[in-house]
């Protein structure tokens, strides 16, 4: 591998990791509570509220049905409002977060649904508050499943961050398009693809290991 190829790859890899890590952190902070809300306001659950559940669910479905490349362009005014610019790595994180939050919400909801209702009932019989049930029962009991689901979200974020290259977000996707495709550098294209594959494998491997260590069932 020539020095120039490494000089191209390393900063791009750094930008991709930066975009994915920061947007994942922000999206998790919003998405996990969203998933808890979706689950606990559902029928027969501890905070049952049909109106809230249906309206939040509708918004989640609406965002999830927009293809990422369109979402990215459509929310440019919002991005500008939030980070002051619509171009660059930081600006690319706004659509990444907005796409990931409803995704995480649904994934977490699915994980929480796997917790047997008997556990919730047992906690209620001990006088637990809804918040205590969420914190001490629902989240710990589904933690292995949530980690597995979040791993999937990270991997889809890696893919979406590549698309973010289209609005000057930088990263591996941007590199592949500008050098590999537009400047006819198949070596760059190939190297980018290999790095992406390795990155996804590593994320999946780490996610599986963590989920397994958390699973005491």
């Amino acid at each position: 591998m020539s020095a120039s190829l490494l000089d191209l790859l390393l900063p791009a890899l750094g930008q991709t990791i930066y975009m994915v890590v920061v947007s994942m952190l922000v999206a998790t902070l919003i998405g996990v509570p969203l998933g808890v809300l979706l689950h606990t306001t559902g029928k027969g659950q501890i905070l049952e509220n049909a109106a809230l559940n249906k309206s939040v669910g509708a918004v989640v479905n609406a965002i999830r049905s927009i293809p990422f490349i369109i979402l990215m362009v459509a929310i440019i005014p919002l991005t500008r409002l939030l980070v002051g610019t619509a171009i660059g790595t930081t600006a690319a994180m706004v659509p990444l977060v907005i796409a990931a939050v409803p995704f995480i919400g649904r994934q977490v909801e699915t994980s929480l649904k796997e917790v047997p209702y008997g556990l919730v009932e047992a906690a209620e019989s001990m006088g637990a508050t809804p918040l205590q049930i969420i914190w001490h029962v629902l989240l710990p009991e589904s933690r292995a499943s949530i980690v597995a689901q979040l791993t999937t979200v990270i991997i889809s974020l890696v893919g979406e961050s590549a698309m973010a290259g289209a609005i000057g977000g930088g990263g591996l996707g941007d590199l592949a398009i500008r050098y590999g495709y537009q400047r006819f550098r198949p070596d760059v294209m190939l190297a980018t693809v290999v790095v992406l594959i390795v990155l996804v494998q590593l994320v999946q491997f780490a996610g599986n290991r963590l989920a397994k260590s958390l699973d005491k069932k």
Partner: protein, 349 residues
């Protein structure tokens, strides 16, 4: 004391409203082990959940030590629930927490100090015989051990009442016996009121003082276990009792025709039941002495115990002159026992 009055529960279902409980009245005294038995779908699980309001009755009143549970606010109800422990058929332990953390769970919910929690959890694990399993996870335990953790957890907040929802239904007979013994021990040591929901009459016979039979959302029969076992009134109760105390005739009599009235060359089949102290009286010997011309033979006999009260059952055959047989029947009726004429069989007894 738990007082349930006129409890009704109706569920909405796609097929229309389901009337699960149709006016239940039940009083459970402090310190009792009260069994509620019914077939699945009889409404017993709904009923026990009406005590700690995991299910809110549609109508009726729930009083615990005089406190109207339905009048409590959410917050007051959560406090009141700390006085009511509950164990479940499928244990409902946190799979992500160790045995220690499971037992500590209600104490952490209550915001107790870790040092207090440690002392309490250790003594509870000692009580249920799992002191050496503190750091294991539920998946590493057997069913009986899981239920012991469930019991320790239910006792952590020092409740006055323990609700057992089919607590032994997922366990094998030997483990069931051990768990029931533990529950009885706790009932005696801590003067805890215990309510047990079950579909197994063996559980009632083993540890309950009182029993209510529930069928189709109403209480078909209730009373002391001994009374209900000895004098079941309703068909459903008779069926439950017959599971543990078979009333079937011995095999030899199942083949022969049993006549309701005496006929020539028949002998009378009589079932006698002796309860408690009079099980010791020599009633048969007395009868033989008094009616030496009658042939009396013992065809079947067993001795059982309910709530430490012994009772014996005999099936005897009497043959001879009909007038004397009737006199003997009268004489037996004057003795302190129950007799039931099964019928007459056309074979020498």
């Amino acid at each position: 004391m738990i007082q349930l009055s006129h409890i009704e529960k109706t569920y909405a279902s796609p097929a229309g409203p389901v009337h699960a409980l149709k006016g239940i009245d039940l009083t459970i005294d402090t310190g009792e082990i009260y069994g509620i038995i019914g077939l699945s779908g009889a409404g017993k699980s709904t009923l026990i959940r009406c005590i700690n309001l995991l299910e809110r009755p549609t109508a009726g009143q729930v009083l615990i030590d005089g406190q109207d549970m339905l009048a409590l606010s959410e917050k007051e109800l959560r406090e009141a629930r700390k006085d009511i422990g509950m164990i479940f058929q499928h244990f409902n332990l946190l799979s992500s927490a160790t045995v220690y953390d499971n037992v500590a769970f209600p104490l952490r919910l209550a915001g107790r100090k870790e040092a207090d929690i440690r002392a309490k959890v250790e003594s509870l694990l000692e009580l249920v015989g799992l002191a050496n399993k503190a750091q294991q996870y539920p998946s590493q335990l057997s069913g009986g051990q899981k239920q012991r953790v469930g019991i320790a957890r239910a006792l952590a907040s020092e409740p006055k009442i323990l609700l057992c929802d089919e607590a032994t239904s997922a366990l094998d007979p030997q483990t069931t016996k051990a768990i029931l013994e533990l529950i009885r021990d706790i009932n005696q040591k801590m003067h805890l009121t215990v309510v047990i929901i079950t579909h197994e009459m063996g559980v009632i016979k083993e540890i309950c003082n009182k029993v209510a039979v529930i069928a189709n959302g109403v209480i078909a029969e209730q009373g002391s276990v001994l009374d209900v076992f000895m004098h079941p009134q309703q068909d459903i109760t008779k069926e439950f009792v017959s599971v543990v105390l078979s009333n079937d005739l011995p095999a030899a009599f199942r083949q022969v025709e049993i006549l309701p009235e005496p006929a020539p060359d028949t002998s009378l089949l009589l079932r006698l039941t002796f309860i408690g102290e009079n099980a010791d009286e020599p009633v048969i010997a007395d009868t033989i002495k008094k009616f030496p011309e009658l042939a009396i033979s013992i065809l079947f006999g067993d001795v059982n115990e309910i709530q430490n009260v012994p009772f014996g059952r005999l099936i005897i055959g009497i043959s001879g002159e009909q007038a004397r047989i009737d006199e003997a029947l009268q004489y037996l009726g004057s003795r302190d026992l129950q007799k039931e004429v099964i019928g007459y069989v056309r074979q020498p007894a």
